[in-house]
Symmetry: C2
Subunit: 493 residues, 2 copies
């Protein structure tokens, strides 16, 4: 373990390796024997749980209810929406049999050919098809609308190149699916959920995001509009962190879902879907962490404060514990998660490095001299600043510090992001600079050809038409044609 702490690759050396190392060393996740599928370890899962619980509250506050739809989708469902099947058919895990039998040599099991399914089933890559097939039975009149369901579940997209949290064959996510009587209401819902995601990312994860709308090429398969939040990682690459789709009447038409409007006339239902996944863990890690390990926002840290007494002998141990107990209790009463680590089987230096690696936001250390002087040492993980302060008022100081760290890491990330958004009008310059990361605010003629050329030349893609920047007239730097809009272009995860 002590060795592991030292072995973390430096970001400047190899950012990608640093990320992979950190995920493992901070006990967040590890590869499983199943290709592209990971094990989320307890410490990583505790962070995900906090994210999930907060998002869940925010969804419910907008009137969304949770439900659960089947894992398996009949193959034929996928084909009903033409764009949808194009988008997902190439990465589907397919269930073809429902039984194993003992192999002839008796030493193992083989698929039982007699137990072949009549129609193959797909492990859901996303659930629009099965949900709209279900909504058909739920929706008859305008009185049945809106329907706003969400499910927290696992999905499977067979990816060829995987990275923990960022791109895995199986991942955990939530998918919201709403049904509305009017186009306006559905569009407003898709935009509302984008705002929920943005608020969560910024206020809880401390991750600044650009909100915007995707180009047609980058849309969700089957959507009329895909809204996105795009975060910038420390290497300047974009990470699409959440998407919300206005699906129009596409799925209603594919699954024949109509309602009688107030004039008693049948109309197709309007739809949205929206999702965030364990990918957010990747955004969280890559936005804040450093060469010593994780840096976690206090609001999502499984342990917010660790208190380490440094003692010689049981008397001092007891004296420190007695002194610190009221602090622990008061912090806990105020809702702060505190770990009191007075274990004697690890050296303090080891503990310090381990809690830094794990991103615990605040560390308090107290030793014999502190007892005499009525002082305590406070370390904040985000800046690694250490300070010896009076023991009096330590509870309030820690509470304020947690707030300050939450704010500080967001501001720091936002400053970094803002410093790496470049306006660029020259394609040669763009090609040169985009390799080093950053978001490029460029005029675009709105054609797929230009989009494809940029991708081919630079691997960078149009991330979105951002809402935060003014739409000025201009010339497309690639085609030289008049621009349709300004977009953010970047290399991405």
């Amino acid at each position: 373990m002590a060795k592991e702490l030292k072995d973390l690759t430096k970001r400047a050396e190899n950012y990608s390796q640093w990320y992979n190392d950190l995920v493992v060393k901070a006990d967040l996740a590890e590869q499983s024997p199943v290709r592209g599928c990971m094990v989320i370890k307890p410490y990583g899962f505790a962070i995900w749980e906090k994210m999930r619980d907060q998002l869940d509250k925010m969804f419910k506050a907008t009137g969304v209810q949770n439900a659960y739809f089947p894992l398996l989708i009949p193959k034929s469902f996928l084909s009903r929406e033409a764009e949808h099947v194009k988008g997902f058919a190439k990465e589907c895990a397919v269930v073809t049999h429902y039984r194993l039998k003992t192999s002839e040599d008796g030493n193992g099991v083989v698929v039982d050919p007699a137990a072949k399914l009549e129609e193959e089933l797909i492990i859901r890559p996303t659930s629009e098809t099965i949900i709209w097939n279900t909504y058909k039975g739920w929706i008859h009149s305008w009185r049945d609308l809106p329907i706003m369901c969400n499910q927290w579940c696992n999905v499977m997209r067979w990816e060829m190149r995987t990275r923990p949290f960022l791109r895995t064959s199986e991942f955990l996510w939530q998918e919201g699916h709403t049904a509305h009587a009017t186009r306006e209401e559905a569009e407003a819902e898709a935009q509302k959920m984008l705002k929920v995601y943005a608020e969560f990312a910024e206020k809880w994860m401390g991750v600044p995001v650009l909100q915007g709308v995707k180009s047609e090429t980058e849309r969700f398969a089957g959507a009329l509009d895909t809204y996105t939040i795009e975060a910038m990682m420390q290497d300047g690459k974009a990470l699409q962190s959440g998407t919300s789709h206005f699906l129009g009447q596409n799925f209603a038409k594919s699954f024949d879902v109509t309602f009688l409007n107030k004039e008693n006339k049948p109309e197709y239902v309007w739809a949205t879907s929206w999702g965030v996944s364990t990918r957010l863990m990747g955004a969280l890690i890559m936005t804040h962490s450093d060469d010593n390990g994780l840096v976690l926002p206090p609001r999502l840290a499984p342990i917010q404060v660790v208190i380490v007494p440094i003692y010689k002998g049981e008397d001092q141990h007891a004296a420190l514990t007695e002194k610190l107990t009221p602090v622990i209790e008061k912090l806990r009463e105020s809702g702060v998660t505190v770990k009191y680590d007075d274990s004697d089987n690890k050296r303090p230096g080891f503990k310090f490095a381990d809690y830094e690696l794990k991103g615990v936001p605040v560390r308090l250390v107290m030793g014999g001299r502190d007892l005499d002087n009525n002082t305590i040492e406070v370390m904040r993980r985000d800046t690694l600043e250490k300070e010896s302060v009076s023991f009096e008022g330590i509870v309030e100081r820690v509470q304020a510090l947690l707030e300050d760290i939450q704010q500080n890491i967001f501001e720091k990330a936002r400053t970094y992001r803002d410093e790496h958004v470049y306006e660029c009008e020259d394609y040669e310059e763009f090609k040169q600079r985009v390799k080093d990361g950053g978001f490029f605010l460029c005029h675009w003629d709105g054609t797929e050809e230009t989009e494809a050329k940029i991708k081919e030349d630079t691997q960078a893609t149009i991330r979105c038409v951002p809402f935060a920047y003014e739409q000025t007239p201009g010339i497309d730097m690639v085609s030289g044609k008049p621009a349709k809009c300004r977009v953010i272009i970047a290399r991405s995860y």
Copy 2:
């Protein structure tokens, strides 16, 4: 909808049909187009969420941490533990391919034969194998123990005959998997989790359970001991509601998981696993509900109190709302979930029947005359008793009533259960009576032969060796041989 309310089958007519009807009519769940898989609707899922959140708290209070392991398990893993594969091979959903492609006629998608997996993957029916394969990497020394992980997830067991919640091909559950240094510690853990389940069932679900240990035949595939909680439904049948397994060193041996003990010698790790599933929803429904619909324990009811004002015209509506608002606020402040239903698009009679069907524990109704008299009508769902009471002190009355209902439905179910536990020493009598339901406390010679004969003759099975009843000496009623123990025998779900 109004029609649906009336169409609920009576329990006395057809208990099984009543259950199926109720699940659908109370908006708990419905069949999906995928064989044996259900859609859990928002109202049903809200109950499951409450169950899950409470259980999760109770698990964490014992030191258990949540994690997440892959959905898919390599086929070869299953074969490693001989009993385990025997138990699960016959009901495995098998993934054989990872891609679809456009069919030749261009109108659909087919499995791409070029995308065949080298080794088939099984959708987890339970996760001992993949988890113990993972634990191998986590456990080296006694210092790494115990490990206590739980996951909330979906599992798949391809069932031929399915019923909503009770037996479905896909279901939601939690599976705890713990690893220990000693046999004693693992046995104690398995028993501790059984106690957690029993406490949850009785205090939260209001479902009395018999705790006991399974016969060898009825054990979990791969366990040395399976502990169980058995509940009695209103038709006298048993419902196995949760199980906790002492797995010995079986999985540690199959996956070669050893640790260095304090003497630095390698030993195999001791294991437990334990789980409850959406099956608990079936137990909840069948224990308390009646011919008018669901009866829910207040602690798990998504809506605990519904308040229906009865008004003519907007003035009276406003006056009632003004009068009731402080009650709603005070109840909500004290943690009670209140629905204020002043919608004017449904008649009061319809609302009453609907909330009865949905099992809302307490209904308050207030009309114009109540306003004049400063009274309010209180209805409790468990007994359907209605009472007009003074408006003063209504908040405290409702709070007390919720507690009383929670207690009352448990006592009622316990009395029913206790009245239907029969001591029986005569096999002819047993065969006659067991058809009508009930738990039969009988002496058993401990042989598989006797167990098999009882099952063949009566469809009843040995549910458990119950802890609550004294183990008296006696004679096996089937074989006439001296008994090894006393067991509970019953027909079951």
